[in-house]
Amino acid sequence: MDRTLKKFGQLDILVNSAALDPKFDNQNQSQNVTSFEEFPLQSWKDAMDVNLTGMFLTCQYATREMKKKGKGSLINICSTYGISGPDQRLYESLGEPRRYKPVYYTVSKAGVLGLTKYVATYFEGTEIRCNALTPGGVERDHDQAFKDAYASRTVLGRMAYPHEMKGAVVFLASEASSYMTGTNLVVDGGWTAW
């Protein structure tokens, strides 16, 4: 944050996109095969540090600077799993150990919405706006079975393409959304509409 100010002399937009969201690959298997009943406390704490405490700190630092001008846009990245619980059936694979989306993911992403509303309302009467952006599942190197299962849960019948988050972030960052604060822009292909 300090280096940004030193180099550019101002800060207008913060996008909080850093988060722990382990993928279901071999490297992370020890974490992903862990059931809720046995979920390790340390993994919970580590994730809360990154996903929530990290976001609290960056919002805190950024608003100190934005307050000088009374203006700025904070965008906190949430998830459909911060709005509804994970559909754990998606993470089942025949013949493989049962895998679960970890508990911290839903809880920390739900917390993102709370932080967003707190920051937004705290800066009432200013032009410092804080909103959440909720992407649905974005297509990457998932296997076909997962893609198909995910797609069937969306209204649009497919996962998102990566570029489909670009319009939403520019909208929230810019004057185009100048009357929006404390809310959540959901870009999920209709996942949460059902």
Partner: protein, 71 residues
Amino acid sequence: MNEVQKLFDLTDQVAIVTGGAGFLGQQFSEALSEAGAKVVVADIDQAAAVAYAETLQKKNWFSSGVKTGCD
């Protein structure tokens, strides 16, 4: 630039994207750059942050890569 395009214009704005070298972070960093902002790509993986900032610079966008931290 017409009135609606101006609404989305981020020229002369400075942005920080945490996790900016990550899968979605790259999309956010690129989008803000395309809209005209100077983007600081902040990531726990400093090499990835610098490398992605350089990718944006090659497109003639002003970008800088830093390691995430509250220093």
